[in-house]
Amino acid sequence: MEKGNGCYFSIMASSATITFFLIGITLVVCRVLYAMYWSNKPLRKRAPQPVSTLIVLGSGGHTAEMLNLLSVLQKDRFSPRIYIAAATDNMSLQKARLFENSLADETGVSAVKTAQFLQIYRSREVGQSYITSVWTTLLAIVHALQLMIKIRPQVIICNGPGTCIPICAIAFLFKVIGIRWSSIFYVESIARVKRLSLSGLLLYKLRIADEFFVQWPQLQRKYPRAHYVGCLM
């Protein structure tokens, strides 16, 4: 009898665990779907306050496109601005600094107050072996998490480099958990005419980007949720 009781209890206990587990999973899935659903919707409240903006820079052409976009965005609305680039890429942050300094000259407001420049580990350098890249990817994710907890930006703007993937994934996680609702804007590089980049494809398919912009009409036909905005360069 006793043995039977124990068995009964353990069945009870395990079915309770399974139930809780299932409820838990359902809640998480619901929350993820909620975040996905609302991600593509414009913010309902008007935003008279300036928004903290994280700008993910890539190399060369990517940075030039991003700075072209920033030059027409209202600086008083998108402030403070935090620039982030791969640790191995010195050029991009230097260009961003020049850009911010030229703004400071125009407005008379010191760039130190409105802009910040950060570097992030890259998950994989060009030509790095896949085995060591497992370790470096982990490192890159932990580093991105650390930075994102500190920054918690209201707006993220990115245009293609792989460094934006961990950042956007963490931003989406923050949405799900309820830490911060960041609006993610992704502008596919002008170099992509017929096919999206891997970063673009991931952010589009997983619906992580709130708004997705492409610079060629061919891409918009292929990815109907994207906005065609013409060439930035």
């Binding site: 965005l73 906005h227 905005v229």
Partner: protein
């Protein structure tokens, strides 16, 4: 670089750039006899090559006895100056070099690097070639492109505009239009 040099015939410079990458196939192609001959036939007098991290070194030449004067360097912080003084630009397919050249209104031949693994750069060069803003070539077909190109038929590239994106971002965040 001026239009007249000591009353002799005006110098016309071809500037070749590979950007921050290495692209030996392009440097080798412009250093080849057939490309140099086609450039001479077209009236160019000088060839300046920015060779980047490549290992192939072209042969320098002073341009005596009517041949093409050839000069090269690895990197420079004043690429813009070279672009400005060039009569023709031959470039790798990086979007930075392409748009910088087009914005200056210089005739451009983009040479696609077929050795790159993820060669999406072809897309941009071909699209812009289809729209007649530039010519697109491969290292081995460069001399044919130079021979057959008609620079008069190239159309100026209209400058890009970031306003549509900025507008949509503002709308999404609930900022009023101004």
């Amino acid at each position: 670089m001026g239009d007249t040099e000591n009353g002799e015939k005006a110098s016309k410079t071809v500037f070749v750039t590979v950007g921050t990458t290495l692209f030996d196939a392009l440097v080798r192609a412009v250093d080849s006899l057939e490309v140099k001959q086609e450039l001479l036939k077209r009236g160019y007098t000088n060839l300046v090559i920015q060779m980047g991290r490549g290992s192939y070194t072209p042969t320098k030449s002073g341009g005596e006895d009517g041949s093409l004067a050839v000069d090269f360097f690895t990197f420079s912080s004043s690429i813009a100056d070279y672009l400005r003084s060039a009569s023709l630009v031959i470039s790798h397919a990086g979007s930075g070099s392409i748009f910088e050249t087009l914005r200056l209104g210089k005739p451009l031949i983009v040479v696609v690097n077929e050795d790159l693994m993820d060669n999406h750069q072809i897309e941009l060069a071909e699209e812009l070639a289809e729209r007649k803003h530039l010519y697109c070539a491969r290292p081995q077909t460069l001399h044919q492109t130079i021979e057959s190109m008609d620079l008069e038929s190239l159309l100026p590239y209209p400058p890009g505009d970031a306003m549509p994106v900025a507008k949509l971002i503002n709308q999404f965040l609930g900022f009023p239009d101004d």
